[in-house]
């Protein structure tokens, strides 16, 4: 069985995606969305705020990230930072960025 740190979804490790997103200067933290339900459900734990979904035909999975941005950073710039960071981590995937809140 897989340990939470090494669980892959279609070859992508959601924890690595989370780390890459958190490394962006505009991102305060990841968020579970309005009900706290957004996340990837893995054995041993849930990666909140990062949804990696397998695509029916195989290939690169769809990725959605739910995050809280730093106040004062333009939303478009924050989204751009996240997309740029994820190009390397999930090449070829569709990346949806959901901004859930703004914090200082």
């Amino acid at each position: 069985m897989t340990s939470p740190g090494r669980a892959l979804v279609a070859g992508v490790d959601p924890q690595v995606v989370a780390a890459a997103v958190l490394a962006c200067p505009a991102v305060v933290r990841l968020s579970g969305g309005p009900f706290g339900a957004a996340g990837t459900y893995l054995p041993g734990g849930r990666v909140t705020g990062v949804v990696v979904r397998e695509v029916a035909g195989g290939g690169a999975p769809d990725v959605a990230v739910h995050l809280v941005v730093r106040a004062g950073v333009p939303v478009a710039e924050a989204a751009e930072q996240v997309r740029t960071a994820l190009v390397v981590v999930v090449p070829g995937s569709r990346v949806d960025v959901h901004l859930e809140d703004v914090e200082d």
Partner: protein, 149 residues
């Protein structure tokens, strides 16, 4: 990932059925592994539909019954090289059920293919109930202290 799965599947058919003999895996084995794999996923409260849980509750109280049944709520069909699994689950309140089901399916398939070498053709998940935080005061609460000393 898809490539390795394919090669695993191709390999398994010879792993379990070879010219020198075949390996058979009992339904119970598959059901227990699938049950453990489903339980591991965060957001699963417990396994089993209403009836299975009711019988399970009685069973656990019988001395010598071996404690909780790992394969409760899991039914399987096992062939020579393939297996199909049906799972009844009760989920936690506040999870994305579709995503959780995908997570369960993924972990069950991965665990079964790794441990048994069987190719898993389908994993059907029935979400039987949802566990609310307020349910905690119900059947799972600490047993009420005895009224008499």
């Amino acid at each position: 990932m898809t490539e390795s799965t394919k090669s695993d599947a191709a390999k398994t058919s010879t792993e379990l059925v070879s010219s020198q003999g075949k390996t058979t895996i009992a339904d119970t084995v598959v059901a227990k592994i699938a049950g453990m794999a489903a339980r591991e996923v965060h957001g699963v409260y417990r396994l089993g539909g209403g009836t299975a849980r009711a019988f399970g509750a009685i069973r656990e109280r019988i001395p010598g019954s071996g404690g909780p049944n790992v394969s409760q709520g899991v039914s399987v069909e096992v062939g020579e090289t393939q297996a199909a699994v049906d799972i009844d689950v009760v989920v936690e309140y506040g999870v994305a059920i579709a995503d959780l089901a995908a997570g369960i399916r993924r972990n069950v398939i991965q665990s079964l293919q790794q441990m048994t070498g069987l190719q898993v053709v389908e994993v059907n998940i029935a979400v039987d109930d949802i566990h609310l935080p307020s349910d905690e005061s119900g059947d799972d609460a600490e047993p009420t202290p005895s009224r008499v000393q």
